[in-house]
Point group: C2
């Protein structure tokens, strides 16, 4: 008689696990939270603005991540009718719904850093 999964073998757990996988696949990578966080703080930023705000990112990654976020409707991209064409990126309502996750993540990161500092110095 082989053993099978018990703890995670309930419909509720399966839905939760699926949901976490979904969220992770959309939010994975080095830059997504930084871009989203920046757009939540200061909405309506151009490509070059974001390049300056998101410390360390390059054009290729910024371009790619913005496309991913737009496809998933977390940000919007608006081409402005200006003489040198400008583009404005802004957070969407869907994107704003990530605020609690970003806040929890930042809160946890700060307290984790403190606990490491307390134990090691």
């Amino acid at each position: 008689m082989k053993k099978k999964a018990i703890v995670n073998d309930t419909p509720i757990c399966r839905v939760r696990m699926q949901a976490i996988s979904d969220a992770m696949s959309i939010l994975s990578g080095k830059w997504k939270f930084h871009i989203l966080g920046t757009l939540i703080e200061g909405s309506k930023l151009g490509f070059m603005d974001l390049l300056r705000e998101v410390d360390g990112i390059g054009t290729k990654m910024l371009s790619k991540e913005l496309q991913d976020l737009e496809v998933n409707q977390l940000i919007s991209r608006t081409v402005m009718n200006t003489k040198p064409v400008t583009v404005k990126y802004a957070i969407t309502e869907n994107g704003k719904s990530l605020q609690p996750i970003i806040d929890e993540l930042a809160k946890w990161g700060i307290s984790y850093r403190k606990s490491v500092f307390n134990n090691k110095s």
Copy 2:
């Protein structure tokens, strides 16, 4: 005169960005949240238990991820004094502090899936 970052150039933002990077580096990867979630639900599980509970994971990844999580004090590893040696993994207090993040992530993933379903079908 070159433009510089404005939105993210406050001490508070820098600390938040750093905190998010810290959290991400500890929690990145395909399996960490699944393992932590499983250990929060059913504490004290063996290696083979986790292999069965965490759907799709292989021995190499499970072994590696457990080591990472132990180094960061999010889980504990206890070798039991039994005849065929067994090992029990359990969540630590530090690990339990991730519950809000996991809950928010699951909540967001569920509502995101619903919104996709509503718009596309």
